[in-house]
Subunit: 555 residues, 2 copies
């Protein structure tokens, strides 16, 4: 590393201090490189929201300086925001074959595929994109064709180790490229940015092969149908189901739109290998004896609309659970989904299935590096500075503690959050600025139009419903010519609460009388008094606080 | 066991096939005994609901036959429904000293303590209550003064092993009463009903003492304040905090209403021992050096209003986190609370605290028996019939598999759910009937008045809000004299969506014109058409489906 006055700036737009919607900007020689462009799923208090994407205001304002978006792999939390971002900043997108295959499908759905400039990179390749000289390094993860990035600068290498694990026996046989990582170490790594998702887990993450052994054991013992639910994107997992099916003479049917799509794409691109005659159509499965059939599907998170959940609830059109079925939930719960998953498992048991799920060792392994692997990444790359990424704050803290353990100096570790502008020279690393970032909420076709006020109303409505008071007045005289009428939704079962509602109407009548007796018609004040009076009345009677909405119509 | 034609009927009103609101009826010689009377907390789709209690219609209809409610221990899921049940069925309540102490507090809050007939039982006692001859047997759990029941009948003993564990080194030194349980086995156990909460966990549950060791280690190392959050009812846990504080020369302050109450009740009744001078008032803690202070509080589940969460969010009036604080979350997440807890932990780290939580072995142990203990209970009592209780369906299935393993015949195991009437003779066990049971939802002061229709509305409102269309018509002529006006809440940010709302108004105007042009005023049909037209319009424009509420006022 030679001394230079050049700077590198690192600005996370997403994924720093949170899980999901990963999006990082690297600024060098006044050019910007974007790494990944992901979405995340809404928190439970974001009522009605479909997706959350990063706020890219800064990116749009600086779009003349943005050279490319480079994708590390094809998971939704790394590519899912592309359709929204491309509409505002249409720049070249670099990714490996499978990653771009999955991106293409996504852009097709949004009618954007013709506009997009997709550039395929090969693992192991080194490319120059503007000022950025980038090595694409093979790493293992829970989807194939994943890369870490080594960005060569005059200050040293920036190693961007997005989601990864060190799988010593990966499916397909290709391990993380240790050589490239140590080469970076030898060249001199300015900064390592590394995945913190599993920073709380001691030891090593188990190899994907372990799950294959579990499948083998289960397939050998099962006398009925086998139903395997996992993430569609976990292509190696699905391959292992296919392999076990072939070994034990079972046919496979693939169920669920995303699973079908992913199997199609990955087979076409050579990432899955399914011999002819293995797959059967869902409509033909009745012809196959139960002990010769495997059903592969999604729904391992208990998603209410998934095939597995509908089978569990006995309302799938074509599939029902039969006693003797073995159901394998080959995944671990995403935080927040625990109760939905438990519900699905309970119902599968009630339908008579044997259910194999997370409490069984080896039914799922993580795609993320555990503590010993995180330390290994640090020791391979020997960075000067260290920045933990991809994780909630507590994961970043834990990952920092691991970096301290392997000898990184405390002042050379930075915990940054979305929007922090981290400026690095050869000798220093400082947060120098904060750009406005945040979440953009997607609800239906609306992108960013649902903000805090709307969410607050939805939350309020969800708690105790709404009570609407309608009054019709004579615009000339101010006289009340109809109402007050009261309509409620989500508050009480009206037929059983007539007295309560009538009491509320009385309160409003008394209040109106007080105003009209004085010949005063300040309708704004009257509305606000109606709210206060009814709030107090209903809380006293019911200890509930519905939204109170007075509407005054003039005739 | 002598042969007899007598029968025992077992009817769960709650807690069979679910976690929580435990309530069991035992019928013998035409008399009814109720065991426990618990509540549970609402599922996440039960918007606005505070509590869920069992439906006791059957109990009310048969109240002349009900002899007593016998309580096994003082947890909310075993006593929490008492205030609601006593209003309808006022019968004697039997429980141990601590259990009744906690019940008293609860009944006081509801103004019911004077009416209640509370009868204290001593652990180890044998009592006759009507036809029921009951042994109260000491068991360990995560609260003191817990009993299992041995109900002696001419058919054999009914062993009701509600929440329990076998702690070989319990706080206070008194283990589960192995002798009594084996005595039952020798006498002849007709049926064992046993806690399935941890039926999925292999091995043995760790002793409560283990947590004491963790506290000791942490207290020895900590240089700043120590903040311990746990369940208020876990009195042994709190005692262990006190003990560690004493050992390391720290004062203790107790924060949070339920924690303060429980410490008071249990100290008064002799279940906690706090030497004079140990406790300090919250207002006085500033006088105490950080390394001489322990704060005991609730909030280990990330409850938004708890002291711990408010400290984490830096909005507690009297307490704020200081760098150097060590926070111990001494509990495990109740399913559904994972994300709230994670949020609290993240914010504690951001405030500069070191946080010790569930990923650390020994920071919490369960109060429920694991698989080897469940088998031990089966082997001690040697029941003829076995009925797993207290657990979701999957836990009951697992517990049944354990019973099979220790040699119970499959036909002698019954998985029953709430409302099943299980009839036992000396020789047989059958589900003979199903009584109507269900959940009663408590929302504010309303008990059972919020049903599916109201919940459905709340859910709908939470997703995309509400859009209200108000029209004023002349009652005589049918002419429209004002409106259509459109008001929305929780749908879109109106100021930015004027065009959308205006479009909707146009749709309604066009529809009204069609009807009025024909001089037809079927307002019911018009309302329903407004709903259809706006639904289609808004879905096409926004892919959202707010609740549409047309209101027609006549003048």
């Amino acid at each position: 590393m030679t001394k230079t006055k050049e700077k590198v700036r690192i600005i996370p737009l997403g994924g720093a201090g949170e899980i999901g919607k990963n999006m990082m900007m690297i600024e060098y020689k006044d050019e910007l490189l974007v790494i990944d462009c992901g979405l995340k799923f809404p928190e439970e208090d974001m009522f009605g929201i479909d997706l959350v994407i990063p706020d890219i205001t800064y990116l749009v304002e600086n779009k003349h300086r943005v050279k490319a978006i480079v994708l590390t792999h094809g998971h939704e939390d790394h590519i899912g925001a592309l359709p929204y971002v491309l509409r505002q900043v249409n720049i070249p997108i670099y990714g490996t074959k499978l990653t771009l295959g999955l991106v293409e499908g996504k852009l097709c759905e949004h009618g954007l595929v013709d506009q997009a400039d997709l550039k395929e990179v090969k693992i192991g390749e080194r490319l120059t994109i503007g000022a950025f000289d980038i090595d694409f390094v093979r790493v293992n993860h829970s989807i194939p064709d994943v890369v870490a990035l080594g960005i060569h600068t005059s200050l040293g290498v920036i190693v961007y180790a997005s989601d990864f694990k060190f799988d010593q026996t990966p499916i397909g046989g290709k391990t993380t490229d240790f050589g490239k990582l140590t080469d970076f170490g030898d060249e001199g790594v300015l900064v390592l940015l590394s995945d913190s998702t599993n920073a709380e887990r001691p030891g090593y993450t188990l190899s994907e092969k372990v799950v294959g052994q579990t499948f083998d054991d289960t397939f050998r013992m099962a006398n009925g149908r086998i139903i395997v639910a996992s993430f569609a994107s976990n292509i190696h997992r699905t391959q292992q189901v296919i392999d076990a099916a072939l070994k034990y003479g079972r046919k496979v049917t693939v169920v669920g739109r995303s699973m079908v799509n992913t199997v199609n794409v990955s087979t076409k691109l050579g990432f899955m290998h399914i011999p002819d005659g293995t797959l059967v159509e869902l409509n033909d499965i009745d012809k196959i004896p139960p002990n010769e059939l495997v059903i592969v599907t999604t729904g391992s998170q208990g998603e209410p609309m998934s095939a597995l959940t509908r089978m569990a609830m006995a309302n799938h059109k074509k599939l029902s659970i039969m006693p003797g079925d073995t159901v394998i939930l080959s995944s671990s719960p995403i935080p927040g989904n625990e109760k939905l998953i438990a519900k699905t498992i309970n119902h599968l048991f009630k339908q008579g299935a044997e259910v194999i799920y997370e409490d069984f060792l080896g039914v799922h392994v993580s795609g993320h590096a555990s503590q010993e692997e995180l330390k290994l990444m640090l020791n391979l790359t020997k960075p000067k500075f260290f920045v933990p990424i991809h994780g909630e704050y507590r994961h970043l803290v834990k990952h920092s503690q691991l970096a301290l353990e392997v000898g990184i100096a405390p002042e050379n570790i930075a915990i940054i959050e979305n929007g922090d502008v981290l400026s690095l020279t050869n000798e220093s690393m400082d947060i120098v600025d904060k750009i406005p970032v945040g979440m953009v909420l997607v609800d239906g076709l609306g992108v960013g139009d649902v903000g805090n006020a709307v969410l607050r109303d939805r939350k309020l409505l969800s708690q105790d419903g709404i009570l609407i008071v309608v009054i019709v007045i004579n615009a000339q005289t101010g006289e009340i010519v109809a109402g007050p009428d009261i309509v409620s939704r989500g508050f009480v079962y009206v037929k059983e609460s007539e007295k309560l509602i009538e009491g509320a109407r009385e309160e409003v009548r008394a209040l109106l009388k007080k105003w009209t007796d004085n010949n005063v018609f300040e309708w704004g004040s009257i509305k606000s008094e109606i709210r206060d009076v009814l709030n107090a009345h209903l809380y006293a009677k019911m200890k509930r606080r519905p939204m109170i909405l007075p509407i005054i119509m003039e005739v």
